[in-house]
Symmetry: C3
């Protein structure tokens, strides 16, 4: 990328009156250099079956071209027009809850042949009229694609076909792996294969969900292939990946395998939404960014992030700017808002854009003008930042799905509330606040050895090969930090029948046969100094088999069991954490692991967030982001550096002040 | 009306054994002079299709006639018999949740031709045998009529026809007003118009709900027309309107436009249920009464209110009587209990009547005897009370519905809990407790100018014309008090794209571009003296454009914005409240507005409630209602007056004591 | 029974690899002498329609025979194979929520002819190959049988047939009893009888639920008849009854009439699951045991109870053993775990058996070895224990169901949370903690007179005859203790229209017309000394009619009403409790009743639980169970006794120490 992209989604179709010219003028004033258009506008592009009208699209491209603003074209396929549903009701996905209804977006069966026929046609038509446009720099396939729970008869058939392939046509093997004898679920002929929507078998159910993720990958691959027929060499293909949604971008996406799907795009993209005002921490920006950077091991696009957003998200002074640089600090090459103007109708009326419904200048837009100006001035120092992180976190869609079937705190009365992403974010957040930057690995990654420390949170479902690889990583001198609920089942969510944690116990030097929910359980340790706070949620009763006990449980009945262990295994070290801890204690455990693994820890900690990278000039860039409403001071430790906003040269020992919700950027 | 009606719903059909004679005797002993019968008894009146049996009805009319008790006949159409559903399953409404099931009342499609055919026939038959009876004084159409969510294919078709009419057959206009381009919802031909049950478009959805309210009006108009063919000149037609239900009568009814529907009755009626015992405040009695009095600008009937009700409602000594007079004090000409006796089977078993299941005298019935006696003695002084209120509150079904689609505190994780009626009741309750009596206006009212002060709570959706009228009202010397969330969208729930609050900003002298959820936000003001309590729920960031700032926000980031403003506009004054406040602070703001608008405030405040009216003798009647378990004293300020219960003449300066849960009534 | 059975459910079908030999070895080591097999394995036993394969069953019988371990065969009918659903989708029950889906167990229509055809065939085939096996000691019919909400067209038809029979074909009588005139629910011909799934009439609805319970009895009777054709005289038939489930075995089973269904088995069986660790009290073990012992008035089998169970249930040291003896102390002749090994797949993965997924020895299994050894040594002293309790609690499915339709704390906004079993367990738990052992009676029991004290908690729905019998029981010298919500409706959930509590007011000497939810209500009493704690949930306003007032209400409005009364009625005494009380006050009331009724109270109280019985040697056995983590001491009061574990003779006045979660057993 030759510059930082700064932009917004722009829907000229939705405007209450014609104001394209005025909008372009305000965009220019804000330094906006890219807009994303067309996604989700199918009913406007193809008002009647086979009748196409791309006038909105071309009007906008024209206007942007005139203003020297780039355009990203989104294929409009993630919301189907009324005429299609009227003619082919079955384009609406048949899910576990029944047939989806018309009205919302993302309600279709992405495997339905009619849907695919129309989707292909509209994509081709759109590509024909946009691909050769000079200022069109890239294409976004669909949007936040999922399988939308599609599980109708056709999908069930495809799933059976998929299973035949996975199990070499061997039903006995499938019955065995999934444990289908249980509750008379055994399937004795492929013809009798039941609809799995009602299954109570987590192995079968999780496999279906893996299959559904595969449908997403296949759908994106299919769109990419069509787009490639038209696009120029210099135009990119991206997808707007998103994250587990808990009212904001929370965790690993359960419905998409980002690593697999990203193979079909030329640059990864994402949307990240997060709490704001007093709750702004930068955690989601860093977390989402680190994942998306990792899926293709390179820079990525932020295709959507909040401008004003909901009333609870309206940024305080400084926050919009702080957020923008936080994205860049994670390796993003773009910051694009969702969206330019606020919508006057429908369900996202309160998901406000840079402009409010009145299109007038407002505090947020005014701050965007500052960002745009700065990006123009110093963007060349910030684009294409490269990171060389020494710590990686191993994440897994399979573990996530399996722990949805078996939530960590499930009991006979409740399905439980503690899930995979709660553990992942629990670990990640503490590292983030210590300013330890991380990459993410997935189970099929081939570059474990790049990292000095690999952290494995609750890798509940894992194939034997992966566990052997973790042993090998440690054997070869790696440092492994593993938490409870790891290596409990194989990739088919069949609990390992050997000693637990299965296979990986070799490098960990421990085993356990039982686990409980802690009540009034504390840690005791000669190794750590720690506050007297209770263990919570879940604990395994660890028995050291060679490992050193760093902490054990303080409880009359569980006192003989270990809680945290450390094992020297060949050239490496493996630490195991058997329980969930208060943040303060996790910090102590993590700091010790980091120190032991030789990871340098910064002086600063949250609310001063430090993020680094190497820029196109080969210089090191260090961001100091003040995530608080208090002024922060840092003392410059390195020989010298240039503060990019002020161009000031900072000397060793000099003090730098960072205003509330503000930042400084050092180039060294 | 020539006397106060005192009565109960009476279902001889439901009695476990024949006790009509005994019931009449106990009614007479309690001073009951009217019963309401027949509503909901269709399966008894027409046991088989076309076979009618009104023997219960005539038996009761006979017995009441002999006892000189009047009868109100309810048409039985709000509960359909089993034979009809068996023969025509489609009489059950097809709703958003699917086809209603047989069992409950109010489950039918009020537009279904079969239902209407049978309904018309049973009404005619019933009218034939009751209309000419001497002691039948009026008719109630159906009961608590709603559309019951009917939304099946036939209703969808009718809705499209309705829309064609509203939009002059111009689909482009409809697409524009509803913003249907969004998420590919654009409708490109009337033939393709989708079922709107799944819509995510609040404009389309709210219009459908307006259409459903219209179905209710049309249904009642249709019944009224039939009834009129039979009824005598001296017999009234009424409907039992009710209110938003939150376990009791809470707020403006979302599913019925009372003002429209009331045009088809000769006197408005209502049911009001409310918390009791320690929670009895009279708020619901006053609120519901003020609305129903306003819909036809005159006296009204309380057709149902609680006797013993649920275990939590069993009245303390004095409360039944206090409640009865509270209804009268609001302008009711009747107090009728639901119901005479408690039911021995089915879902309302614990909705107890005047008599318990044992039909024995009980504390509540004994108190009813006192009320009946008093009504006979002093009722002529209390019937047909006329009010001349100077304050009106503007309410709107459209604003209510729109704020259901966009709840005030909605965020990306929650649909929100704060709704239109929460604001309406928040304001109303404070006025009630200050003893400021109010009328209610609806958007199409033509007598705004009657009032010195109009209060406009969260008039979220409003047509331009209405906003211009409010400007005009102020310009002509009116006093306007407007809250946040007013004038945000037009009547199609399309957000105004001009400066907000749209149009009405003219008289208010303010504007705003942003709004947030307050956290740790207080008010600061040189104008008011107020306690240090936080703003809550929602706040707009007001920018004065000519208005005086009465209070602004105390918060480091929002401190430059106004919270309460006052503007002199031509001959009038307009005050705007931009946020939700603790009751104590709202009181301060309201008192100031009332004083400024020249509204006289009483010395008494809750728990002493003062309500006034002019009686048939041209005398002023003042109720002093003690809503507490403590004795209250008032000092009589006027020259002299007669206390109606004691007939005592009270002189200026004399002290009147009111016992707990008791009252006195002064005639001046 | 000639010995205590100690065992587990064993599913060789579910094992991840062949380890039958190893399992048998570990079972022997643990003293296990019985396994329960085959239930729920239909798809393994009949892999294709009509193709049977009982090789797993015979393999296990063989191996157990060789090891001298007995076998209980469960018919596999409570989970249907995929092929059956594919061929006959209607075997899945059509319920109130629609057709059940394939996947879970217990989803079928137990009246469906296809299901019954296949069920009969597989049972006969299974019996053919197991009934004559030497070590097969008995058969379990199905498992935890219910009607699974079956309510489809066929069931509705059968219900109408049933009603014709109940009401002598007299629809008028039915309409009257159920009060169907209400809301036009009257049914005027049998042909029009509506599907009752949507009914709002609790009388009709409760009758349907009674009919559904009858389907369960009929189904079990039908299976018993088939099994009897094959079984030897020495083989028993049992059923695994269970209890209202609230995440553990909580209360009276709503869906099965245990007393009726148990007529078709030769010995009653049950599963009991309960909280553990710090929450282990023994309450559920005693409660469930007392019920199951009562249904056939004799010893019973614990066919399932938890071993390790969920993480929250993993027993502390000593608890597994304490639990085992607690079952025996209630009259169980077996303790069988669910299950031997933990499952590696599907929904019960975390319902852990004696062995964890790794099949290794663990703390729980090790404790089982101790139990097995002890059972062998002293079991002959503990088997076939006979009890002669003087206190009985009257329970009723009909009252339970009726109070589901009318929950005790229901109000117009909430269906309520306080249910029948909350009252039953409230009373039972206090008695349990006082070491008062109870039997349970059902409404049709013929041996009321065996008991000195009958306790009647909230017998809401009761036929007149039953109430007359309670009067008679008292008249003849019995002591009756009755709580609020008794005798309110007849057996058709029609509220009695006479004075309440109906009929039984005769022996109680009270009446009431009103009842309320207490707020700030306390008791006042000259009779009791009690702490100042508030009455909660529900209270009746009692008026003494001959009864002595033991306590009345302390509240300004309810102060004239009684709360607890005592009445001498002919030769007996009847105490009535009109409200729900804090445990501390209930204890005071109960202790007084017990004393008055001449029931001897033990010195020990919870956490020392005392349970007694007479053994085969005619000796009295007394268990002292320490349900706490503190050591407990008891002083031996009787002349002498033998402590069974230590064989020590204990002399009068000697002190016995019981370790935490431990016990001692005295033989006298």
């Amino acid at each position: 990328m030759d510059k930082l992209l700064y932009g917004a989604a722009y829907y000229e179709e939705y405007l209450p009156y014609n104001r394209l010219e005025k909008d372009v003028e305000m965009m220019k004033a804000a330094g906006i250099n890219v807009v994303r258009i067309a996604e989700s506008t199918w009913s406007t592009c193809e008002p009647k079956e086979g009748i196409f009208d791309f006038s909105h699209v071309t009007r906008v491209i024209d206007a942007m071209e005139a203003a020297d603003i780039s355009v990203i074209i989104g294929t409009p396929t993630y919301a189907v027009p009324a005429w299609m549903v009227k003619k082919h009701p079955q384009v609406l996905a048949d899910t576990k809850e029944g047939r989806n209804v018309y009205g919302p977006r993302q309600n279709m069966d992405i495997t339905n042949p009619d849907y695919l026929f129309y989707a292909e046609r509209v994509i081709r038509k759109l590509m024909e009229c946009t691909a050769q446009r000079k200022n069109v720099i890239g294409f976004q396939l669909d949007n936040e694609t999922k399988s939308y729970g599609t599980a109708g008869e056709n999908v069930q058939k495809a799933f059976v076909k998929y299973l035949k392939n996975v199990f070499d046509n061997d039903l006995e093997k499938l019955n065995h792996q999934f444990g289908l004898d249980y509750w008379s679920n055994r399937i004795n002929s492929w013809e009798e294969f039941p609809d799995v929507r009602g299954t109570i078998n987590g192995s079968l159910g999780a496999e279906f969900q893996k299959f559904q993720r595969r449908l997403v990958t296949e759908f994106l691959a299919w769109q990419a292939k069509i787009v490639k027929e038209y696009k120029r060499e210099d135009q990119f293909i991206t997808q707007n990946f998103d994250f587990e949604w808990r009212g904001y971008s929370y965790g690993v996406q359960p419905e998409v395998n980002h690593f697999e799907a990203a193979k079909y795009v030329t640059i990864a993209g994402a949307d990240i939404y997060h709490p704001s005002q007093d709750l702004l921490t930068g955690e989601e920006i860093a977390f989402g960014g680190d994942i998306i950077r990792s899926v293709k091991q390179g820079n990525y696009l932020i295709l959507e992030t909040e401008a004003q957003g909901f009333p609870g998200w309206t940024p305080y002074r400084g926050q919009l700017r702080l957020q923008a640089y936080s994205h860049i600090a994670s390796g993003a090459n773009s910051v694009m808002y969702w969206h330019w103007h606020s919508l006057h109708n429908a369900v996202e009326t309160y998901w406000k854009g840079l402009l409010s419904h009145d299109f007038a200048e407002n505090d947020t837009y005014c701050e965007a003008k500052v960002i745009g100006k700065e990006f123009k001035e110093i963007g060349s120092h910030l684009v294409n930042l490269q990171k060389q992180n020494r710590v990686a976190i191993l994440i897994s869609n399979e573990a996530l799905t399996a722990l949805e079937w078996f939530r960590i705190d499930a009991d006979p009365a409740n399905i439980g509330t503690v899930r995979y992403n709660d553990v992942v974010r629990w670990i990640y957040n503490r590292l983030y606040r210590m300013n330890i930057e991380c990459d993410f690995l997935n189970p099929t990654s081939e570059h474990f050895e790049k990292y000095d420390l690999i952290i494995v949170p609750s890798l509940y479902a894992a194939p034997e090969a992966l566990l052997h690889r973790l042993n090998q990583y440690t054997a070869q001198g790696g440092y492994l930090f593993v938490t409870f609920k790891t290596a409990f089942t194989d990739e088919y969510v069949k609990v390992y029948s050997q000693i637990q944690p299965a296979i990986i116990n070799e490098c960990l030097g421990i085993e356990y046969h039982q686990f409980v929910f802690p009540k009034n359980v504390y840690l005791k340790s000669d190794y750590y100094q720690m506050p007297d706070l209770p263990v919570h949620t879940f604990m395994e009763l660890l028995i050291p088999k060679g490992a050193e006990v760093l902490a054990s449980y303080n409880h009359y009945n569980w006192k003989d069991y270990a809680a945290v262990t450390k094992n020297h295994y060949k050239k490496g070290i493996a630490v195991y954490l058997g329980c969930m801890l208060p943040d303060e204690i996790l910090d102590i455990v993590l700091r010790d692991v980091l120190k032991d693994a030789g990871i340098v820890q910064t002086q600063q900690e949250f609310p001063v967030i430090v993020r680094k990278g190497k820029n196109d000039f080969g210089k090191e860039i260090v961001f100091y982001l003040n995530y608080s409403d208090k002024k922060q001071k840092i003392t410059w430790q390195q020989e010298k550096g240039i503060e990019l906003f002020s161009k000031a040269e900072i000397k060793q020992g000099e003090e730098i002040e960072i205003e509330p919700w503000n930042l400084c950027i050092m180039e060294i």
